[in-house]
Amino acid sequence: MWLRIKRIIKTSIINFFRSGWLSLTATLIMMLALIIVGVFATINLSTNKIVAELKNKIDIVVNFKDTASDAQIQKFKSELLGRPNITSVEYISKEDALAEFKSRTSVKREIRDLVSSEDNPLPRGLRIQSVDVQEFDFVSTLAKSATYSNYIDSSSYDDNKDLIARINSLGDFVKKFGLGLAIFFILVAALVVANTVRLAVMFRAKEIEIMRLVGASESFVKIPFLIEGFLYGLFALILSMLIIYFGLGLVLKFTQGTQFFSFMNRFAPIYYGEFWYISLIQFVVGSAVGVVSSWLSINRSVKL
């Protein structure tokens, strides 16, 4: 058994290296495909991250009337903190609200000057952040409930509801679109590679016939082709990793200070940060496409 495995591997490696142009072409095409896979995986991870960051920045503020006691505010706060998706609830005192109001350059100075610490109409509030924007619906419902509605002034949620919903759905769309686009390009690349591997196998159909005629069993004929398919994927992976890794570095180096640099610089940290994860995706796609397309072509184009 071991002898047979050793011989099958030996045959595959000999064929891979001695097929010269055929292996080189298949490997290079696979490499292009894997670069596309790597680029789209990076873009996809980046958009996911950007969308997540954007969602993190969304917060709502619940304002309390001056009649509300601190205890009531605390009770409201602790009810919110009991929700697993709510990440932070920050108390804003009247002083905090004043300081923030004073720092707002978007508000006219004359209006800002109307408010002072002696005469502060600004309400106390709670600033709420959540990993799930759906959670804000709960906050809104709670604020309008009989227990609190008399003490709560207004919720910035109602004002921003449409905006939050829009950001939310836009984020989801960008995520889905990115993933769809990545899958589409990966599929196109996989088809191109599968076709190249198919041509390589068909080109050698005569050899397969010879192998059968000298008494080679089905596995002895087929498995080397599958291993060769895997080798196309493996070498293409190494080449594409090197090209993206060093290529990105070079691009960043030569475009420093330009608009393009800041564009690329959004993606670079994500690629380098997730280097092994992206390489793993490339490896899975490359070896699967190589092996599966070899398998299909050898079964389809060769009658054993």
């Binding site: 047979r4 050899e207 010879i210 008494g215 002895f220 054993l304």
Partner: protein, 233 residues
């Protein structure tokens, strides 16, 4: 000279094979005894190649039986084919060598495919290369060989399993007269050592020179079967 035995190595019974309405072989029967050298002759389309394809089980007959060493090969399961072919020497007009492998590796491939140990391969190949006079070409690739040399490699590969029958389909078809004679000599020697040789050819000169049993096919029928025969059109 090997003595012709009384056991039938090959026994073809009422073999018929057609392709899309035309009959390639029409109810032929043929018996080949151990030690025999049989030349199949006939013009193109006579049915020689069809018979070879049936013998190496590349195809199945429409009816009839083929017994090789007592076993009906028309009943072989696909999984048995590699084992059957390992006991058969097959030589083709176009040599059928694996282009990526050297002469040595081409011969070794046939042995490796049947799980022969490395030590035995190391022992067998030099011997077989000497037998076909190709010791100095062991590391050449097929494209570096002349037609005659390539055909000798193909014969060497066919012989590594010590087959009982060697089937040669137009082995001199692509060769010049000199190389053809050389191949005929080698096949004769192989036969002398006891292997049954069945050679399909339309090389009149070779047939007339060898003075072996000649079976003539025409339009799918055997029209003559002569010991020490000559080429009949």
């Amino acid at each position: 000279m090997a003595l012709k035995g009384s056991t039938a190595i090959l026994d073809i019974k009422n073999l018929t094979k057609g392709y899309r309405g035309s009959v390639a072989l029409n109810d032929i029967s043929l018996k080949v005894m151990s030690g025999e050298f049989v030349i199949l002759v006939g013009p193109s389309g006579a049915g020689k190649s069809t018979l070879v394809k049936l013998l190496i089980r590349e195809e199945l007959p429409d009816s009839g039986k083929i017994f090789v060493a007592g076993r009906d090969i028309t009943k072989l399961k696909p999984s048995d084919l590699p084992f059957y072919r390992r006991n058969l020497g097959i030589v083709f007009q176009d040599y059928k060598l694996l282009p990526n492998l050297t002469v040595w590796e081409n011969i070794a491939y046939a042995l490796e495919a049947s799980d022969v140990s490395d030590e035995e391969i190391e022992k067998k190949i030099p011997k077989i290369l000497r037998a076909v006079n190709l010791q100095d070409k062991a590391y050449a690739y097929p494209h570096q060989l002349s037609g005659g040399e390539a055909q000798r490699v193909s014969i060497a590969r066919a012989l590594v399993h010590d087959p009982k029958i060697l089937i040669a389909d137009e082995p001199t078809g692509n060769l010049d007269p000199e190389a053809s004679l050389e191949i005929a000599d080698i096949l004769e020697k192989i036969n002398c050592q006891g292997t049954v040789v069945l050679m399909a050819t339309h090389d009149r000169e070779i047939v007339d020179r060898m003075r072996k049993r000649v079976v003539s096919l025409k339009k799918g029928k055997i029209i003559s079967d002569q010991q020490q025969g000559r080429y009949i059109c």
